[in-house]
């Protein structure tokens, strides 16, 4: 970083910036657009997105994917991971992706199981 070499393109080279500052503003605009889409979807809640896919509503899939997109650009451009070595990128991202995906999977399956037990059990929980 000392030699201040920044990679100045986002979207796999689709958008190239002249300086690091213009790239920052470009990423801000992109993040703002994504957040606006999320908020608008959250307020309107289109009926067609209420259908479920893999036991999660489509709208929630969109929210989760857009969140990961935002996380990618915050980490890559604001936290300068784009300019770090592949080794550092991989040791951060793979560690987190693996551990969090595992945690999410195992805990949510367990939560769903407990819901089933309470729902199908003979004990009334609303007395």
């Amino acid at each position: 970083m000392e030699n201040s070499t920044h990679k100045l393109e986002i979207f796999r080279g689709l958008l190239k910036f002249k300086s690091n500052q213009t790239k920052i503003w470009g990423v801000l605009i992109f993040l703002s657009i994504v957040t606006t889409i999320e908020v608008v979807l959250g307020i309107i809640k289109p009926e067609i997105l209420m259908n479920t896919f893999l036991s999660t509503k489509l709208i929630n899939w969109i929210f989760i994917i857009l969140t990961l997109v935002k996380a990618y650009y915050i980490a890559w451009d604001f936290m300068h991971l784009r300019d770090e070595t592949n080794g550092l990128q991989a040791s951060i991202v793979i560690t987190l992706l693996f551990l969090i995906a595992y945690l999410v999977f195992i805990i949510l399956v367990e939560g769903n199981y407990i819901y089933d037990v309470l729902y199908e059990g003979f004990v009334s929980w609303n007395f």
């Binding site: 970083m1 801000l28 908020v39 819901y115």
Partner: protein, 328 residues
């Protein structure tokens, strides 16, 4: 053998002094990344715990849009999402000013670093203040509800407009009485009780029974994702199970629904808000360091970059909290 090792170490005097740069990143930056990865795991633990409770109570979890619908100066207007979206934009914008400060530091432009660090701290302070306002609304509540013996929350809505909730003050019939809060200076010195609600249970129940225009809204969610509203007959039957009057939220019970909902709200947004607060304090310290020229003399502004990493991480976490607490 031993002599061979010692000679290599002597030749490589940077090895244990922080001179070697694994991944071509300096010691300080790598350690900040270590911290960020472990802190990210802490936050994911909290959010996954939230997901667990939500999956466990999937058919009765509160709907965020119905809880967080306040906006400053729009009293009584149903404005879901707008305020938290505003907070998100404030935080993203302060992230941008931070990264501009880092960029200015690379070019050794002290004045611009000072300017952007100041903007970043102000943005963070605005965010923390907004969160305090959000907490205030959440804690004080707006309408009130009753809780049954089984821990279910019953809210009240109008029969002709089921989307509009009814406040307890519109329901309750005033029953004269002189029940006052027991404090340790009034009765026995070792006995006291928590703050009494504005209305007693009898006032709310008798008021509900005499007003045929009001229905009970339960915690349960139907197939379309809306809260189930009972008919007047069912409501009259269910109101007899009411045990407490609940106004606002604390760690034990809240008027929004499941008890865990308020606990997770306080815990996750509180932990994140604490991160923002400490980030603001660190930013201010760095701001003054830049102002007195510490990094100018040091020859590089890497410290700004390191607090920048922390600050962006706080923003990153908020992106996830925003999604899983307010959107999904």
């Amino acid at each position: 053998m031993s002599s061979a090792i010692s000679t290599t170490i002597e030749e490589d005097e940077d090895l244990w002094g922080g001179g070697k740069k694994p991944f071509k990143a300096s010691y300080g930056k790598l350690m900040m990344w270590f911290f960020i990865v472990s802190d990210a795991l802490t936050f994911s633990g909290f959010l996954v715990a939230y997901g667990f409770s939500r999956y466990k109570n999937i058919d009765s979890w509160p709907i965020a849009d119905e809880v967080f619908n306040h906006f400053p100066f729009l009293h009584g207007v149903d404005a879901p999402m707008y305020y938290v979206a505003l907070m998100t934009f404030v935080l993203i914008f302060s992230s941008v000013t931070m990264v501009l400060a880092v960029d200015a530091g690379h070019h050794m432009q002290k004045d611009r670093v000072v300017f952007y660090m100041a903007l970043t701290s102000i943005g963070g302070a605005i965010f923390v203040g907004s969160q305090a306002w959000e907490w205030k609304n959440f804690i004080s509540g707006e309408y009130g509800a009753v809780e049954t013996r089984g821990g279910q929350i019953y809210q009240f809505v109008y029969k002709d407009n089921p989307k509009k909730r009814v406040g307890l003050e519109e329901i309750a019939l005033e029953i004269p009485g002189d029940r006052i809060q027991n404090e340790s200076n009034k009765g026995i010195w070792f006995s006291n009780e928590p703050t009494l609600p504005s209305f007693t249970l009898e006032e709310v129940v008798s008021g509900f029974k005499s007003n045929s225009e009001i229905l009970i809204k339960t915690e349960k969610i139907d197939a379309k994702g809306h809260k189930i509203i009972l008919s007047r007959e069912e409501s009259l039957e269910k109101i007899n199970q009411a045990k407490y009057v609940v106004e606002g939220a604390n760690l034990v019970r809240n008027e929004y629904g499941n008890r865990l909902f308020a606990d997770f709200f306080f815990f996750i947004t509180g932990f994140h808000g604490f991160h923002v607060l400490s980030g603001v304090i660190i930013n201010i310290i760095i701001f003054f360091n830049v102002l007195v020229g510490t990094y100018e003399r040091r020859g590089h502004y890497e410290m700004v970059e390191k607090v920048g990493l922390y600050w962006h991480f706080v923003d990153l976490v908020w992106v996830f909290v925003f999604t899983f607490f307010y959107l999904v």
